[in-house]
Each structure stands twice: as structure tokens, then as C-alpha cells.
């Protein structure tokens, strides 16, 4: 699931209504208020959404024609997770239920999205054979995923003894690794930037593993799901 971010909800006003929770902005449940009538009308929270319930409820409220409104001045300070263990388990938990929310809200039969240039809302994924055949595949083209595909290709080529192909794979993987780390490196310098990249990698890994397992439960191949 590609999820719109807190820091992007800085504009005061009505949220654009998105059709898919994968791209629709939503309010995290750490700081949100609902009209009770609206919540009761849509039947409360979905017990199957252990995480991502906020995303699910925003999408359902939109679908029921309620407006969503951002009020920046309503501020809540949040205690961040500390330590890699906590971080990993948190992101694993997020990833675990992404496929469920995705499957719940994306009723489209067969659709392929491939947006190479990331638009502002962060939609960039491939969705194959979804809801049509037994083989259901959702691939989010994140840098994290592409990096690992390149690494995998390099390993395979190396094992098969294809030196040229494995060198190409190595170059590709290196380029992708740099591009993965680049935003942090550019902003925070070499030391802090690489530390942050490592943290981001752990979070991505958590989501990836969680989403993969969650995807199998939904009978789909669900690969990677954070915005990089």
C-alpha cells in the first residue's frame, strides 16, 4: 500500500476524495475526529483491519459521501518508536494488513498501472491479473523492490557463470542502492544519511515481509509497499 503521509496534509481544507485507499490521502488514527453519526452509518471499524484501519475508514467515509477536512492547527505530538526491533515490528504490522485493505478497496478486475514518473500523490504500481484469475499479483515499483530484483538477477547470473550479465546486474544494483540512499545522503550528509537509510531499509524490509505474508493470506502475490 502506498500511503499518503502526515506531513503532506499540511494544507487546511477539504481532502480530495480518492477512489483507492492506495493513493487517497487519509487521516491517521493518532489524531482524527469523526462525526459519530458518520461512523455509525458506515458501521464502525472493520475488525479485520488490524492496522490500516484509519486508511480503510477514510476510504469508506469518502465512499459514503462524507467530506474529509484537514485542520492543521489541531496538533498532537506523537511518541516515535525507538530501537530497530520496535521499528521493524511496527512496520511489519503495517505491512501485514496492507494486502487486506488493498483487496477490500480495489474492485477493479484487470488493470495495469505503470507510472514511471511519480505523480504528487505517489501512485506507482503494477497490478496484474487482479481479481480475475487465480494468479493475483500486485507489484509496487519501489526502489527497494527494484534494488532487490537487481541483486537477485546478479546472483542468478553469477551462479550461471554469466560474467557480463552479472556485472551489468552489479552496476544496476549499485545505481539503485545509491538512488535509494540519495535523498537521505543529500539532506543529512554521509554519516547521518547512511544511518537514516539503514533505518529506512529496516522499515521497508518489515513492510515487505509483512505485506508478502499478508498477501499470501489474501491469495495474492503482494510485493513491497512503501513510498521510497
Amino acid at each position: 500500500m502506498i500511503i499518503q503521509i502526515l506531513s503532506n496534509l499540511k494544507e487546511e481544507g477539504y481532502l480530495a476524495k480518492g477512489r483507492h485507499p492506495t493513493v487517497a490521502p487519509f487521516f491517521p488514527c493518532a489524531n482524527v475526529a469523526f462525526r459519530r453519526r458518520a461512523l455509525q452509518e458506515i458501521g464502525g471499524f472493520d475488525p479485520k483491519c488490524v492496522t490500516g484501519e484509519d486508511c480503510d475508514i477514510s476510504a469508506r467515509l469518502s465512499a459514503a459521501d462524507w467530506e474529509l477536512y484537514t485542520r492543521r492547527e489541531a496538533i498532537v505530538s506523537h511518541k516515535n518508536p525507538s530501537g530497530f526491533r520496535h521499528l521493524f515490528s511496527k512496520w511489519y504490522g503495517y505491512g501485514r494488513y496492507h494486502p487486506y485493505v488493498f483487496a477490500k478497496h480495489n474492485e477493479r478486475a484487470f488493470e495495469i498501472y505503470l507510472r514511471l514518473l511519480r505523480p504528487l500523490d505517489g501512485e506507482r504500481y503494477i497490478c496484474c491479473f487482479y481479481k480475475r484469475s487465480p494468479l493475483e499479483v500486485v507489484v509496487f515499483l519501489t526502489r527497494f523492490l527494484m534494488l532487490h530484483v537487481a541483486l537477485f538477477a546478479m546472483t542468478v547470473a553469477c551462479l550461471l557463470g554469466l560474467t557480463g550479465a552479472s556485472l551489468v546486474g552489479l552496476g544496476l544494483a549499485a545505481a539503485l542502492a545509491i538512488s535509494y540512499a540519495w535523498p537521505d545522503l543529500r539532506r543529512w550528509g554521509l554519516l547521518l544519511g547512511s544511518a537514516y537509510t539503514a533505518i529506512r531499509y529496516v522499515a521497508d524490509l518489515g513492510v515487505f515481509i509483512g505485506a508478502f505474508i499478508g498477501g499470501l493470506q489474501q491469495k495474492m502475490l503482494y510485493l513491497s509497499a512503501t513510498v521510497d
Binding site: I3, A30, G44, E67, L68, A74, V76, P81
Partner: protein
């Protein structure tokens, strides 16, 4: 000349129609159209030809016969009070306008006339921004003199009055030109016989200050080309309060719309006993509505007070009355056009706030929960209820919660099924407020949190959820926490961080 058969006719079309109706003016009209076709041409365009032609058209229209007697209504317009002008004109504004008028030697009279436009709704349709505040508490300042002042003087005058637009809108011309110019301001060319009250107001003006005058009470007979024109107008305006778009208007426009709808409703309510009294300012509408719905006066007066604050750009609590206004408009609609469904209950006297329940889910985090509850007990707008769901904790969570029982209206529930959605649904069952605010147990709410969250709900009944900003808690030293913080404070449109 479009005589109101087709209210929404464009000016171009009206010119073509006029040319058919008055063949003797065909050449002049053709010239006007050619001038209008090149609005951005660099050649100076003489306005005289246009004014001259409109004047001719107005005279022709005056000579033409208006509709039959059964389409005419007697209107009584009360005198405009100086107070209604002062609502939106700051203290020194009248003096400034007076000075600006004095600088125009050619002007003999400058008359404040209420902007009564009975066609505004029909013409503007559902275009809310155009509608809101279109005619109530708005004035035309009609400048009358033997000839038009020089262009640069007019420009200076316009600049001086710019800050009072759109509430005060000046027109220029000699007595007849004033008649002629009036139609050019709207979307349609209106015949003067469609706006008789405008000309009647000009005649009955009382002196105010120097050359400034203000329109007095008048009685006019007005043709209504559609027999049920008034009813249609009231229906349209009252129905707007069922449209989500209306609630997106700024408070001031929303209130103006309310006064406008109230006036329309009042006009319909008294059609049985001519003459129809037409309120021209919001204060007069307030009195009319108080007479129409006894018992509503106290809240109407409060709304009027907030409206005045809003117009004068003082801090206003007008947004608190949105819900009341919505229900009141529906009630007026039911009163005038009974549908049999029954009018909605008005919120009880003076109750203009929503009740808020705060929902807190916690599991084995007694320490964090204490700070969260403490922040809730320090809210500027205290919560009406705090529902804490203890999701099968094994620590001293219940004791921590109970310690706050004297400061918060607490409901402590225990949910044995572990899982956020179960706990949230259990909490929802115990919430009694109109609004359910959701916060995590590892969060600390800013003192204005609930106050700020409440405002959008008051403003628009169609809002189902309001989200606020989440910032990192201060003083977190851990590297992972610092990473989070760095991502949360990234500039909008820049980097992003995902978080459910």
C-alpha cells in the same frame, strides 16, 4: 431589450434581441457590439456611444407596457437606517466616501440605495459565491449630476472606494444616465420597469452628510413576470441549505445567504396581505424572521451579533451557529412549503456546541497513558467524555485512569479481545458525543486540540472526519525516533514518509 422573459439571457443576446425589437436603434446597437468585441484593443473606446444607446433603450423600455395588473405586487420598502450602513463601513469610511464624492465637482447627489435584486437568484442560479451576499446589506451608491466627470477623476474616485466593494458599488451619470447605467451592471440588460424600486429609492432619498443621501421608505408597484416568482426564489434559496457546497462558503457569505433566504421566506409568508414589506438590511430581516417564528429571536439576535463581528472582521463565533441555521432554514421551508415530513427540531435554546467524546485505546502503557490523559485534562475546550478502552492490560492501567476521574468525565471499559479495531468498536459503543475524537495512548494533545478539531464540524454538517497535524514529541534522543522526526518535519511537496 430582454424584458425578463428569459432571465439568463447573455448581454450579447440581449443586444441582438433589442435590435430586433427596436429597429430604429439597430445601427447604434451594432456599433456597441463591435466595441464589445474588442475589449482588449489598444484603441481608446469612447463610452459615450454605449451610454447613449443604453439611455435610448431605457426610454423605449419605459414607454413599453409592462405586464398585466395581476402580475404586479405592491412593495413597501422601509427606510434605510444609518446603522445598517455602518455594519460594514468602518468608523471613518463615511467621511472618506464623502470626501471622494466632494472631489467630483460634477456630482450633485450621491445616493445610497439598497441593492434589491429580485432577479439575482434566477440569474445567478446555483453559483453560490455569486449568490452569497449578493443583495442583502449591499448598497449601490448612485452619483447623479449633469454630466460625467473626467476619466482620471473617476479613476481616482474608484480607487478610493475600492476597499468598500462589493458592499458599496458606485454608479455614475445624470438622472437619466443613472437609469440607463443600472442595466449595464448585471448579466442581463434589464428594462427599468423591472427594477422600479431602484428608481423609487432614488426619489425618496434623505440627506445624510453633504451631498451624500440615503434612500428613505418607498412604496412601489412591481411587476412579477412569473406569477410565482417570489415562491420560486424562496424555494431556491432555502433549498441551498441542503447543498453541501453552501457550507463550504466562508462564514460571512454563508450568513449573508441566510439573511437572503430569510428575506425570501418572509416575502412569501406575507403575500396574502399586500403591500409586501421588503426588509433591506439584515437587521430588518432579523425582525421579520422573529415575527415569523416566535421563540427563535434570542438565537437570531446572537447570529446577527456574530454576523456584525464577522463583517467588521472582529473575532467571531459565527461558525458555531451553522447547524442551527441549517435546521432553521429547513424549518422555514417546511413552514412555507409543507411536505408532510415535518420540520426538524431546532437545537435547544443556546446550545450551539457539539459534544465531544475522546476515544483512547491502550494496552500495557500506563506511563504513556498518564501523559495522554493529563493533556486531555488540560484542554482549552474540555472534552465532554473520555472513553478509555483497556485492551486486556496486565499493568496498573485502571488505577492510572481512575486517578483522573475527578478531572475528566471518564468511561473505562475493558475489552478482552486484543486488537485495535475491536477496542475501537467497543469504545464507539460507549461514546455519546456528537463528535468522536480519536487519539493514541502514546500521544500528547496540544491544549487547543479539541477546540480546533471542533470548528470544521460546526462549519459544515457534511464533514465526516477532521484530521489534524501530528508532530514528533520533543526530547526523543533515539536515532530511530530522530529519523521519524526528520521525516515528519519535511517540507510539503518534498520528501515523504509513509505511516499508516
Amino acid at each position: 431589450m430582454a424584458q425578463g422573459k428569459d432571465q439568463a439571457v447573455s448581454r450579447d443576446k440581449a443586444l441582438v434581441q433589442a435590435a430586433e425589437e427596436y429597429p430604429e436603434l439597430r445601427d447604434r446597437l451594432k456599433k456597441i457590439r463591435s466595441l464589445r468585441d474588442y475589449p482588449f484593443s489598444s484603441n481608446p473606446v469612447s463610452t459615450e456611444a454605449i451610454l447613449d444607446t443604453y439611455l435610448c433603450l431605457a426610454r423605449q423600455a419605459l414607454a413599453a407596457k409592462p405586464g398585466g395588473p395581476r402580475f404586479r405586487r405592491w412593495l413597501r420598502i422601509p427606510a434605510l437606517s444609518l446603522e445598517s450602513l455602518k455594519i460594514f463601513l468602518p468608523g471613518d469610511a463615511l467621511g472618506k466616501i464623502h470626501k471622494a464624492v466632494a472631489a467630483l465637482a460634477e456630482v450633485q447627489r450621491a445616493v445610497f440605495v439598497p441593492r434589491l435584486s429580485f432577479d439575482a437568484v434566477a440569474v445567478a442560479g446555483m453559483d453560490l459565491p455569486a449568490l452569497a451576499g449578493a443583495t442583502i446589506d449591499a448598497f449601490d451608491l448612485v452619483l447623479i449630476g449633469p454630466r460625467l466627470p473626467a476619466v482620471d477623476k473617476l479613476r481616482r474616485f474608484n480607487a478610493a472606494l475600492d476597499c468598500y466593494r462589493p458592499m458599496v458599488n458606485p454608479f455614475f451619470g445624470d438622472t437619466e444616465l443613472a437609469v440607463a447605467l443600472r442595466p449595464t451592471q448585471g448579466w442581463t440588460i434589464k428594462a427599468p420597469d423591472q427594477d422600479p424600486e431602484f428608481f423609487a429609492c432614488l426619489r425618496s432619498a434623505k440627506p445624510l452628510d453633504g451631498r451624500l443621501e440615503i434612500s428613505g421608505a418607498v412604496e412601489v408597484e412591481r411587476p412579477f413576470l412569473l406569477v410565482d416568482h417570489l415562491e420560486e426564489r424562496a424555494r431556491t434559496l432555502l433549498a441551498l441549505f441542503r447543498q453541501p457546497e453552501a457550507f463550504r462558503l466562508p462564514s460571512r457569505s454563508f450568513l449573508s445567504l441566510f439573511w437572503e433566504a430569510g428575506r425570501a421566506a418572509w416575502l412569501v409568508a406575507q403575500t396574502g396581505q399586500p403591500p409586501i414589506r421588503v426588509p433591506v438590511s439584515s437587521e430588518q430581516v432579523l425582525q421579520a424572521l422573529a415575527a415569523l417564528t416566535p421563540g427563535a429571536e434570542p438565537i437570531l439576535s446572537k447570529i446577527y451579533h456574530e454576523y456584525c463581528c464577522e463583517v467588521q472582521r472582529q473575532s467571531s463565533e459565527a461558525v458555531r451557529y451553522t447547524q442551527w441555521i441549517e435546521r432553521y432554514a429547513l424549518r422555514l421551508e417546511e413552514l412555507l412549503f409543507p411536505s408532510g415530513i415535518g420540520s426538524p427540531e431546532l437545537p435547544s435554546q443556546g446550545r450551539t456546541e457539539l459534544t465531544i467524546s475522546v476515544m483512547l485505546i491502550t494496552r500495557n502503557r500506563a506511563g504513556l497513558l498518564r501523559t495522554a490523559l493529563k493533556s486531555l485534562s488540560e484542554q482549552e475546550r474540555p472534552p465532554d467524555q473520555v472513553v478509555v478502552v483497556d485492551n486486556a492490560s496486565s499493568d496498573d492501567t485502571p488505577a492510572v485512569v481512575r486517578a483522573f476521574a475527578d478531572r475528566l468525565n471518564l468511561t473505562l471499559v475493558r475489552e478482552e479481545t486484543i486488537g485495535i479495531p475491536f477496542a475501537r468498536n467497543t469504545a464507539l459503543k460507549h461514546c455519546i458525543g456528537d463528535v468522536v475524537a480519536v487519539m493514541d495512548d502514546d500521544c500528547v494533545a496540544a491544549p487547543q486540540w479539541l477546540k480546533e478539531l471542533e470548528i470544521p464540524f460546526l462549519k459544515d454538517p457534511h464533514i465526516g472526519a477532521v484530521g489534524g497535524s501530528i508532530i514528533p514529541l520533543e526530547g526523543q534522543r533515539d536515532l530511530v525516533a530522530r529519523f521519524y522526526a526528520s521525516r515528519m518535519s519535511s517540507p510539503p511537496g518534498g520528501e515523504r514518509k509513509s505511516s499508516p
